[in-house]
Amino acid sequence: MTTDTSLVTRSPEENWLPVLELAVEEVFEIMVGCRVKPAAQSDLKPKGEFTAMVGLAGALCGILTVCCDAKTAGEVARSMLGDTARSEEEVADALGEICNMIAGNFKNKLAGTDDRCMLSVPTVISGGEYNFYSLAEGNFMETVMLFADQPVSVRLQLNS
């Protein structure tokens, strides 16, 4: 686990993206049984058919989202559960838990933050016909990871 206190005092975009990417990689490797890596193409975006969200409050205040297409979300659920994962509800549940674990793993890596930051229970939106607006006016960071060659976007929007 990374415990560099200096991470908390610098610009989040500058310092926290590698921490976020590491948190994502660990969650996928341990819970999904699959290695993921940041996509080489920065413009690669998933179709947002499933979006999982977890709110952060306290020392870190904002929202973490995990977004991918329906097929990829289904593959994530099947990798976690085996062939028993069939319903849309189970797929949403699985993606919500992935988002929850990424948020927890990320904050646990930031020294001095984990004790003073709470997570909400996950919320998952399915269906792509929506726009996402956040009232937070602070910093954000985003990484696109490849899972089975398909893009999965992980975005952390922080309130200023």
Partner: protein, 128 residues
Amino acid sequence: MDKIRVLIVDDSSVMRKIVERSLRQAGIEIEKVVEASNGAEGLAALRDNVVDLILCDINMPVMDGLEFVRQVSTVENAKGVPIVMITTEGSEAHVVQALQAGARGYIRKPFTSDQVKEHVLPVLGKKP
């Protein structure tokens, strides 16, 4: 090892399945699994079932895991049953709160079956 009866309290049905699978992968033989999706359901389940082990998340709607652990000792069936938290809340403060509330072990998500083995077997009186 004797087969055990276990209560798994987590608002995610996916996570409840993964926890059960991890117990089996850790070599723990299970006679019965009782599931609950929050602390209040967990307390109700304990009134109707005798279990040997409780595994519990912290962040849940209705009643969170810490409040659930505090109230477990009020259920006659559940007095002395070991509780292990399995949660994304990995801070030292949460660990201390959970242990003070009555939990005997603490596993951070994401977790491996080896970590489940390491933390669960001792509270069942077995060597990991």
